[in-house]
């Protein structure tokens, strides 16, 4: 297993485009997470009543809610995680356009090895992304939170685990598309078209089915957070907000991840390379 990951990393160690995109992603993610407090400060200064915004900031970055808030921002469907998706699509479709997938098999990989190596790389990318969020969260939490007791710091940290599963499942979806469509451009188009199609389906289909559509299910793990602010402002607002990661959501998402891997394997196995 480690050998496979090692070989996979060898392929990218001196691939400048890969590192550029990864650094771009990391910088953008950190910029976004750290930009929020800066933005709030800016608004606070501009407004006549800075104290109100300071309260908001303290609420958003308060342990333990911070974990839900920043993972929610980082995992939003149409935003920053697409960059990671693009990296995965380029990685897999490169193997087809350079024909190196064929060379890998001839040299002694079987199709399973090839796929496992890619899955391991995806898990590593997800871990990398989760780590950035974890470190940013710790920093922002400790600088803004009113309470830094261990219970508060580590409470709701399951959202980080949820985020890891969510981003992994999304990247595995991108991998599957890449394996099916082989060409970089076509795969991008299919992904973006699907981004448009699924919301339309959601609109047409009954509410019972929509949570189980792939992207929706993946996104469901971390839902719109109910910052205590909303509660304060509208005490009558009687809607269920997510307080913890639900095992059912995690289960559905994990199931999708497994299905994506199995489908990838099936396509790899049945096709000529």
């Amino acid at each position: 297993m480690i050998k496979l990951l090692q070989i996979e990393l060898q392929k990218f160690m001196s691939y400048k485009a890969f590192w550029l995109m990864l650094v771009f992603y990391a910088v953008l993610l950190a910029f976004m997470i750290f930009g929020i407090p800066g933005l709030i400060d800016y608004i606070a200064e501009k407004s006549g009543d800075p104290s109100k915004f300071r309260i908001f900031k303290a609420i958003v970055f308060n342990f333990p809610d911070i974990w839900q808030n920043i993972t929610y921002v980082a995992s939003s469907r149409y935003f920053i995680k697409i960059i990671l998706g693009i990296i995965v699509i380029i990685i897999i479709t490169n193997e087809y356009s350079f024909l190196t997938i064929r060379a890998n098999i001839i040299a002694g990989f079987d199709r399973k090895d090839f796929l496992i190596a890619k899955v391991e790389l995806i898990l590593l990318l997800s871990l990398f992304s989760t780590l950035i969020i974890f470190l940013s969260g710790l920093y922002l939490g400790f600088t803004n939170s009113t309470s830094t007791s261990i219970a508060h710091v580590f409470g709701k940290m399951t959202f980080l685990l949820g985020y890891f599963i969510e981003i992994s499942a999304f990247l595995l979806f991108c991998l599957l598309l890449g394996i099916i469509f082989k060409k970089t451009g076509i795969t991008f188009i299919v992904l973006f078209v699907y981004f448009i199609i699924e919301p339309i389906l959601e609109y047409k289909l009954s509410d019972k089915i929509t949570p189980y559509l792939p992207l929706e299910a993946i996104n469901n793990i971390i839902q719109t957070p109910n910052t205590s602010l909303i509660k304060i402002k509208t005490p009558d607002f009687n809607m269920d907000f997510q307080e913890a990661v639900s095992f059912v959501d995690v289960g559905v998402c994990t199931a999708y991840a497994i299905v994506f891997i199995l489908l990838s394997y099936l396509v790899l196995k049945r096709r000529d390379i």
Binding site: K3, Q6, I7, Q10, K11, M13, S14, Y15, K16, A17, F98, L99, T100, R102, A103, N104, I105, I106, A107, G108, F109, D110, D113, R270, R271, D272, I273
Partner: protein, 298 residues
């Protein structure tokens, strides 16, 4: 003889095109086995199947008398169609990846790069290589981990005459080390120069399989005729140097065993008291024979 590769009743269809048709052959240890056929005769498809990148529709194959496995593939070095590497990586880093997949030690990389004379360019990116260098790097990659079998698919395609000579020399050198070689080519001349055995492929099926000198019978033909045709006919039939007689009205077309020439034939006929009215040598170009093989099967 130890069997290295056994193919039995292999079939592969691409839609209506029957790319490989009921193909069976055996490659024995130490041989240089040529797969000869025009473009589109199923050579690359066959190699793709035995290297597990193409799935056969039916039939099977086995390496080293064992079921197909990735472990067996690690004992094979192969180049299919074109040199394939990560273009943005240096030659050395590319070979490190393939050495890792094959479980070959990194120390092997220096050795194979020196064999193909690319050691000085090991730190250049693959995409900066000329075509000949790419081809040589592919051979280096195939040599990683001391394989028992080497597979070359049109190894001299796109090379200049010097490059062609170098590659053929290299193949012969390798085969002298006891490594079994499988070589696909559309060039009869190439197969004849380097191969000990050959399978001639046409439209996916094997027309002939056997030793090169048997299949590609290179004997020249001799035409003779005389006033007394009957006497000539009897004399020719009695001659043990002759392997084939065809009669074409006035003329007999004869193939002699290796080592005998028209001089021997003429002396023999004089000793029998036959005077020829016509004696001519017909040298056949190899290409003609190859084409003949292909048309005979129609």
């Amino acid at each position: 003889m130890e069997q290295i590769l056994t193919i039995s009743n292999l079939n592969k269809k691409y839609g209506k095109l029957h790319a490989v048709k009921d193909l069976s052959l055996v490659v024995t240890k130490g041989s240089v086995f040529g797969i000869l056929g025009p473009n589109g005769s199923g050579k690359t498809t066959t190699l793709g199947i035995i290297l597990s990148v193409i799935n056969a529709d039916s039939g099977n194959f086995s390496w080293f008398n064992e079921p197909n496995s990735k472990a067996n593939r690690k004992k094979i070095g192969a180049i299919l169609e074109q040199p394939i590497f990560y273009p943005y990586l240096t030659a050395e880093k590319n070979l490190q990846i393939f050495a890792n997949i094959k479980n070959a030690p990194f120390s092997d990389i220096e050795r194979v790069l020196k064999i193909v004379e690319l050691y000085d360019r090991k730190n250049s990116k693959f995409r900066t290589y000329s075509y000949g260098m790419k081809q040589r790097l592919a051979i280096a990659a195939a040599l990683l981990g001391n394989p028992e079998v080497l597979i070359f698919d049109e190894p001299t395609n796109g090379l200049d005459p010097r490059g062609i000579a170098e590659i053929r020399e290299l193949i012969l050198q390798i085969s002298q080390q006891g490594i079994t070689i499988l070589l696909a080519s559309h060039l009869l001349d190439e197969v004849q120069k380097v191969c000990s055995h050959v399978a001639v492929l046409k439209e996916g099926s094997a027309l002939f399989v056997g030793k090169v000198d048997e299949v590609l019978n290179i004997a020249d033909t001799i035409e003779v005729s005389s006033n007394n045709k009957e006497l000539l006919s009897i004399a020719l039939k009695e001659n043990r140097q002759i392997i084939e007689i065809n009669s074409d009205q006035e003329i007999f077309v004869i193939k002699l065993k290796e080592g005998f020439s028209s001089y021997d034939l003429n002396s023999y006929l004089i000793s029998k008291g036959i005077v020829l009215t016509h004696l001519a040598m017909r040298k056949k170009s190899l290409e003609n024979q190859f084409l003949e093989l292909l048309t005979e099967a129609e």
